[in-house]
Subunit: 462 residues, 2 copies
């Protein structure tokens, strides 16, 4: 597709819709990066609409004039999804920051898509309600981006990922038309499921402007346990054992020793004993029915070769151990592990996955660190290659990742559990999808965005 090059006339049009203050065409560094590797792509212009109607007018203009659009939330994505790889128009949703209605009676909230996850959580908790999805980026990421990538997080193991909380979406389609996708109901068998088609579509099918989200009652109490395992395999096996004992952890995280050490060093935590013989930790939370599940959990854990369990019951103790987990990605990235993968496998194959990742690292002489949402089989794998720091368009890393994803595929898994595909994973899709499956995805994309103006270059090949 040959896109049109932005002209002065286009800029004037956008200014007439948005006002000059919401049309930026210089100093765009902030909008040229996201949180993936070290990539930088400058859009030609950044637009900051405030209403759905403004988004609609902009998009219709781009549709008629063949201008490529990159929708952008907070830029916390890890796969280059918010980068303007074709230049053109970047639409920042930062002004869509209003929580429109909390419906306490029906446990629902209606938000604009630029609301920060953390702000939403705070707002609903203040009225005794609970929005569970909590990706690592929760303090800055937008709900719209969470929906576009079907974000997960720590609590997904018990409460499910973002898709389970999205009841209805207002979307601006690639031709500028505005629709609501569904209804504000807990069940819905009315029409094909447009809502879930937009969840996880990474801004390639339209721009999410509003969302109606399901809420839960706020759990009343919780406890966390940091559990050191002398053998890495046993930490993985314990994950399965916990579920077989019919325990429902609200979080169940895995950290290799290399990951937790880096975070503890970084945070300057002195008082945390770290047995050198320990290979991995599980970080486990229980909520609500603690008295019911905690004894069962300790029974399961003590069947393995573990060190002393650190129990965290008050907020201070809980924060101390959870900040370790929350900081891991940032810290290991600073330590040179710049390439992050987001693999997911059937849960019982976790130990095999970790072992095969270590073998792969040995074979290709890079360092690897594994951590993540063990309860979901969702393992983050960070690679520290002595020479190459980006995976995008690097032949050596590409070869490694082809092997890595083939291992994941052979274990019944797939490329991304919660980050999405975006720019930097799209070339690996043929490993996990047949050509017919990919053709069908492309047909659907083409039927909704025939001119390929909506986040081009992401998720789909072109």
């Amino acid at each position: 597709m040959e896109y049109k090059v932005l002209t002065e006339g286009d800029v004037l049009f956008f200014q007439s819709i948005l006002g000059k203050e919401n049309v930026l065409n210089s100093d765009l560094e902030l909008y040229a990066k996201d949180c993936s590797e070290n990539l930088e792509f400058f859009p030609d212009i950044v637009l900051k609409p405030t209403t759905t109607d403004e988004v609609s007018q902009i998009v219709r203009y781009c549709y008629e004039n063949l201008l490529p659009i990159t929708p952008r939330g907070a830029g916390t994505g890890l796969v280059g999804g918010a980068l303007a790889v074709k230049g053109g128009i970047l639409i920042s949703m930062e002004n869509f920051d209003r929580i429109l209605e909390i419906d306490k009676e029906n446990f629902q909230v209606t938000v604009e898509s630029g609301v920060i996850n953390y702000h939403l959580q705070q707002a609903v908790e203040s009225v005794g309600l609970f929005y569970p999805p909590d990706p690592s980026s929760w303090q800055s990421s937008f709900i719209g981006g969470n929906i576009a990538t079907n974000a997960g997080g720590l609590k997904a193991v018990k409460y499910g990922v973002t898709s389970q909380y999205v009841l209805n979406l207002e979307v601006v389609l690639p031709n500028g038309e505005v629709i609501w996708t569904g209804a504000n109901t807990l069940k819905n068998s009315t029409g094909i499921n447009l809502t879930q088609l937009f969840v996880g579509s990474e801004g390639t099918l339209g721009i999410i402007t509003k969302a109606v989200l399901k809420l839960l009652p706020k759990p009343q109490n919780d406890v966390s346990l940091l559990v050191p395992f002398r053998k890495l395999d046993e930490a993985c096996d314990a994950v399965s054992a916990i579920f077989h004992a019919n325990i429902k952890p609200s979080c169940l995280e895995f950290m290799e020793q290399r990951a937790i050490h880096a975070a503890i060093d970084f945070l300057g935590i002195q008082s945390m004993p770290m047995d050198v013989e320990v290979e991995a930790h599980l970080l486990i939370s229980l909520d609500e029915i603690i008295e019911h599940d905690l004894p069962k959990l300790v029974d399961v854990l003590t069947q393995f070769d573990i060190g002393d369990i650190l129990f965290a019951e008050n907020e201070l103790e809980k924060n101390r151990i959870w900040q370790i987990r929350r900081k891991v990605a940032e810290v290991v990235k600073q330590n040179g592990y710049t390439i992050e993968e987001d693999t997911v496998v059937p849960r019982a194959n976790l130990a095999k996955l970790v072992r095969e990742m270590h073998d792969l690292a040995d074979k290709h002489s890079f360092k690897v660190v594994c951590y993540g949402h063990a309860g979901d089989g969702n393992l983050h794998i960070r690679i520290n290659h002595p020479i190459h720091k980006n995976s995008y368009n690097n032949a050596t890393i590409r070869e490694i990742l082809l092997e890595l994803f083939q291992i994941v595929k052979n274990l019944g898994g797939t490329i991304s559990g919660e980050h999405g595909i975006g720019l930097i994973q799209k070339n690996y899709l043929p490993i996990v999808f047949s050509s017919r499956n990919l053709a069908l995805q492309n047909q659907i994309k083409h039927s909704i965005d025939p001119k390929n103006i909506m986040n081009p270059g992401k998720l789909f090949k072109n």
Copy 2:
């Protein structure tokens, strides 16, 4: 679309693929009806394939020869979805009845789409696992049909509907190609969500041949309560109060007095006291954390004007009260309530919905009975019209239903919570969807089934 008329040559082709015994072209009464109203549409031929490859060959032939296909599960649908309204080919999935693998380690099961829900439940329970979705038709309906309609059931209020349990699908597309839609993982942000696009698509986008389903550990114990309310509004209000008290019922059903009386009479239950002043019952189950939730539940209930609560703790007692709920639809249908609607509204609007349905019945001089999944806001409304027994193509009933769905829409709800749209609800879609939304649904249908051979006349206009 002008479809081709079936010829002797077509029959011979199908016989060459399936063998004569799996190609039926006479005595097709069994395949001409489903469980909706009194409709009858005969296919020209019924095919009973046994393998995905056979389905693929049949569908490819139909695609090339412009023969309309109606996929059919057990025929338990309530909206005419399995009726061959265009004649042509009916593909019965009854031979797809194998449970292929129960993966105990990963809490997953792989089934063919013609497996009966009840058989699946029995099979997984025998190894300590649990498949929650349990539509009323569970003893005969096929998993493929459950997926195609996104079926709900009694336990959806705690455990969610079918869509939450579908990890991956094998689907024969309208051109005969076969794909797996996703991966056998608990989380997945890889590609657009084809899996959830096929869930609830009612056989209009392809034929589901296999499914990988998520399982849970089997809950260990449960208790049920039948609670009589002297005022119908209070029964509805109690539903909201239960959730506000942070209680998690595993079932939460509502029955108007007219419904429960009919079922009790039909079942010949003598010993159940029925206070004439009672307007409605709630039927509530708790599982697992009974000792935690039961006292809280009784506290909530006793704030309302209720009669004696009937507690059912052993299997005999539980069966006695649950058979009432399970029999309601069949019994009230026999009593002349032949037209069933499957409305769903935000939960707190349930009392308003029931009240407005009664007003509507008074206005148009028909009888109405309401019951259903109160915890989800999903109310089944059955209509007994003194003259008209079918809604399909009946002008009087159509006028009534237009008003009925407008009420539902005004309360924030939609047409179907779990039955689907099929043949008999499709003309009401413009009440709940904008023309742009419907156009988008049609675009997607057209991109996947450009010749409109897959379940034509259902869900979509033509």
